[in-house]
Each structure stands twice: as C-alpha cells, then as structure tokens.
C-alpha cells in the first residue's frame, strides 16, 4: 500500500503505485492477472477522473484482464474484497488484483465533506447533514442511553493514534493525549476534532487467488475464512435505535457463519473508526461487547495492542487516514500483515483476524474474517 496522507499524486497514480507494489511483492506477473478491480467512491466528483479500472489495468500491463469498479461509498474497499473473493470462489478468475484508492486532499474540508454527504437522502441533504453530524447525533444518544463517558470516546482516539505511530503508512504518526482530544474544537457536539478521521489521499492493494495457485508463489498466505455484506436503511433517522447498526450485525453474522468462527475466536480486528463512536458501535454489533458496554473495554485496556482483543493496530482510519475507497483494502492489508507475523512493532499474537468496513453511517457494511494458512 502507499503512504497515506497528503500526496502530490492523483488517483490514477496512487492506484498504480499500490498495484505495482502488490504485484512485485507477490512475484505475480501483470499478465497473470485475470480480473482487476478498483474500489473507489468518487474519483469523478473529486478530480473529474472516471474509468479508473481501465486506466489501472493499462498502466500495470494487466491487459486484457476483466476490469470493474466497486463503489459502495466508504465501504468500497470491503465491497471490493467481497467482489474479489467472489471472482475466485465462482471460478471466474484465478488471479484477481484489488486496488482501492482515493484522492481527496486537493479539495477543501467543506467540499470533501459534501462529496461524501451526497450519499444521503434528499430529506437529509437539504438540512445540511454530514456524516460527522450523524456521528454527533449518535454519540449524544449513546452517552445518554448508557453509562459511557465522554472520556471513553476520547480514549479511542488516544489508542489509535498511539498505534499509528508504528505504522509507516499512516497519515498521523504522533500520539495525542486525552486532554488534547477533549479540548479540541467541537465539530459535531459532543464530538470534537480528534474524534474524527482526516481527509486523506492513498491506495492499498491485495491479490486474491485459489489456495492451489497461492502455493505456486509462496508458503505464506492468508485465507478468507468468511465474508458477509449487509445493508441498513438509506435514511438514517428511520432506524428505531440509531445506536444499533444492523448492517454491522448482519454482515458479521454472515461472516461468522461462513467462517465457523465466533467473536471469541477473533484475535485482532480492524474496525471502521471514521468517528470514535463507530468503534464502540461495531464492537457491539459484532458481538465483542454487549449493547452499551463497549466503552468498558477501552477503559479496561482490552482493545490496546497488548489487550485480549487488539483493535485497529494499524492506527485505524483515525490515525492512518481514510482515503475512502482504499480504507477497506487497507484494513485487509493490516490483518494480512498481522496474520503473517509481518506487522513489525505493531505485531500482536493472532491466528484469526476480522475487518469491518462501513459505508455511509452504517448504510452498507462488509465484514471479512481472515485466517493464517495452515
């Protein structure tokens, strides 16, 4: 994957950088790629560049591979993993390259926020709703409904920034303390600046193939044990309890069922911490904590790197950054590195890992469970 952050490169260049590095690292020749997928939410809206899968396949010499763009807003990367897995499982391809990427930082925060908010229903959009404002609405309700403290949300940011320090790809490689988080400017009350991920440029890539093909290249690979996708209401306020993300619950249920694993089997997880409150909501939706109880896990240190369920060892979207279409792929990349024992100073003891990629405000969700090869 590329370095995440503010990059001079444009989306076509970012995709090519990550894709070329992935092929080189795996020792796979470009002409061996049969399917080439690009996870991307809005290259047309951000920079007026469409047709990116075609461009990528040409730039990497993957012709005449079948190409396809996967757009599922912020969960485009996870949806790309699902599509790539389907291409292999169906027998349609024996070597699929998935590259997720987005170029965003040339836009102002206001413009980028509006591009993302364009996923909302007209009755939401006309009120100026943004994804951060959904987070503020939900965080206030969560803090009101349960015993969670504002400080516990801040500790999510502190933890993930601490993890990001050891990730050479991360946008922010610096620790923040709780006081800094809690004193930062309000963005969507009660959430503050450090409760939110940044706007980011970047790209990440993974290769998918049958195990029989993988063994031709290496003895060390990771297996997709289970994957599930689900959709919740487009109109967020139609959910009877906005603190419950049914897309997370359903996608997780499907992934657990396919894999045969349950929440207790997960050794490491990458969750979609676009906002700190989302880490709690996904922990609860995925069965890592009971409703209203996830905040206790971070207070007890359970989700720290040395805890019993390390979450967002990469630094998460919060510290690593969130180049929309790349994020789900980058989550998979971190789990891949953890399961192969290649995560360097971020390494935890893990045989089974989970990635949860959220689009919209829980509108579309992909959960993927991965295991180390036997």
């Amino acid at each position: 994957m590329t370095e995440f952050g503010q990059r001079d490169a444009w989306v076509r260049e970012l995709l090519a950088e990550a894709g070329a590095a992935c092929l080189a690292e795996a020792g796979v020749a470009p002409d061996a790629v049969e399917h080439c997928y690009v996870s991307n939410m809005a290259s047309g809206e951000f920079e007026g560049m469409t047709g990116v899968p075609n461009a990528l396949a040409h730039d990497l010499g993957c012709l005449p591979a079948y190409t396809q763009r996967v757009d599922q807003t912020s969960s485009s990367g996870g949806a790309g993993m699902y599509a790539a897995w389907q291409s292999i499982a169906s027998g349609a391809s024996e070597m699929t390259l998935l590259v997720g990427g987005e170029k965003m930082t040339h836009r102002s925060t206001s413009e980028a926020t509006d591009v993302i908010a364009s996923l909302t229903h007209p009755v939401e959009y006309k009120h100026g709703v943004t994804l951060p404002s959904f987070a503020g609405l939900t965080a206030r309700l969560y803090l009101d409904q349960y015993d969670a403290t504002r400080e516990s949300l801040g500790k999510v940011a502190v933890k993930n920034h601490k993890n990001g320090v050891d990730n050479p790809h991360a946008q922010f490689r610096k620790e923040v303390d709780l006081e800094t988080v809690l004193q930062s400017p309000i963005v969507a009350d009660p959430l503050r600046l450090y409760d939110f991920c940044p706007i980011t440029d970047g790209s990440a890539a993974l290769l998918f193939c049958p195990e029989s093909v993988a063994k031709e290249y290496t003895d060390e690979y990771v297996v997709i044990a289970g994957v599930g996708g689900a959709t919740d209401t487009h109109v967020v306020h139609e959910r009877s309890d906005p603190t419950v993300m049914n897309g997370v619950v359903e996608s997780g249920r499907k992934a657990y069922e396919m894999s045969g694993y349950d929440p207790d089997d997960i050794d490491v997880a990458e969750l979609h911490d676009m906002f700190t409150i989302l880490e709690f909501l996904q922990m609860e939706g995925l069965g890592f904590a009971d409703p209203g109880e996830a905040w206790r896990a971070i207070e007890a240190g359970r989700t720290e790197r040395d805890g019993d369920l390390p979450i967002n060892t990469s630094g998460g979207l919060k510290s690593k950054g969130h180049p929309l279409g790349a994020s789900g792929v980058a989550q998979g990349y971190e789990i891949y590195k953890q399961l192969l024992g290649e995560a360097g100073p971020r390494q935890v003891d893990a045989d089974v890992g989970l990635a949860c990629n959220v689009g919209g405000f829980g509108n579309c969700v992909i959960t993927t469970i991965m295991e180390a090869s036997a």
């Binding site: 009755v123 009120h127 951060p132 969507a188």
Partner: protein
C-alpha cells in the same frame, strides 16, 4: 395505485396559492408510517395515504450542533432526530433546529422554512430535489 386518496392533515395544500406545503409522511397498508415515503413500505406494504407531520409536535430523540457544515449551510447548524407519535404509530424525522437550547426528550414543533440550504452551493444538482422544509422549534 394512488396514495393521494387518503390524505390526513394538510397534505393537499397548494404552495402556489401561498399555502405552506405539508411535511408529508407516508402511511402503508400495515399501518406503519415513514418520513420520507418509499414506493414500498418497511414490510412490503403498499402506500395507502399520507400524513402531514407539520400538524403534530414531536419529541427530541437526539441532537447535535455541527460547526463544519457543507457549502450553502449556515454555521453552526443545529440538527435533531425527532419522534412523532401519530395515533400510536411512531415515525421519526431529521431536521434543523431553530436553536441549540434543547435537550433530549424536549417537545418541538415543525416550523416551515422556504429554503433550508442554498441549492446552488453544494455538489447536488439543484433541480434534483426540493430545498424547502421544516425546522424544529422547542415548544
């Protein structure tokens, strides 16, 4: 199929005649109500009528103040999710608040605004949707 046959409240008002448009929710054959309406209801039920939510008060479910609104929206932007009780049927809506002097559980009433956001400022095509609607004001 027509769901204009069973109109409750003021959903039949004419904005061209200077009347305030309705805050139109949709009622389905199974009795459920959603705002906005959908071609098919939550459990596959057909739309059978409309309800003008502007004639009811609602309760604040949650709220926030956004200090970084998108283009065409004044800062700060106070927003709330509110719940209406329409003869025992719950229906929720989201909208701007007229003030941040509000708390969860407060009662609010819809107040019409001819333009909630500058249609020309954002990424969405201005003609693709309407831009008027209802803010919520504490009772």
């Amino acid at each position: 199929m027509s769901h204009e046959d069973d109109v409750e409240g003021g959903a039949d008002r004419d904005p061209d005649a200077g009347e305030t448009p309705a805050m139109e929710a949709t009622r389905y054959a199974d009795g459920s109500i959603t705002y906005p309406g959908h071609p098919i209801g939550p459990d596959g039920a057909e739309p059978v009528g409309t309800v003008d939510l502007s004639e009811y008060t609602a309760t604040v479910v949650t709220w926030t103040t956004s200090t970084a609104p998108p283009p065409g929206v004044d800062a700060p932007n106070h927003l709330a999710i509110v719940a209406f009780d329409i003869d025992g049927e719950a229906v929720q809506a989201l909208g701007q608040l007229t003030t941040d002097e509000v708390a969860i559980g407060d009662e609010v009433t819809p107040v019409y605004a001819p333009e909630l956001r500058d249609p020309a400022a954002g990424i969405r095509e201005a003609k693709s949707q309407d831009w008027d609607g209802y803010r919520f004001e504490p009772v």
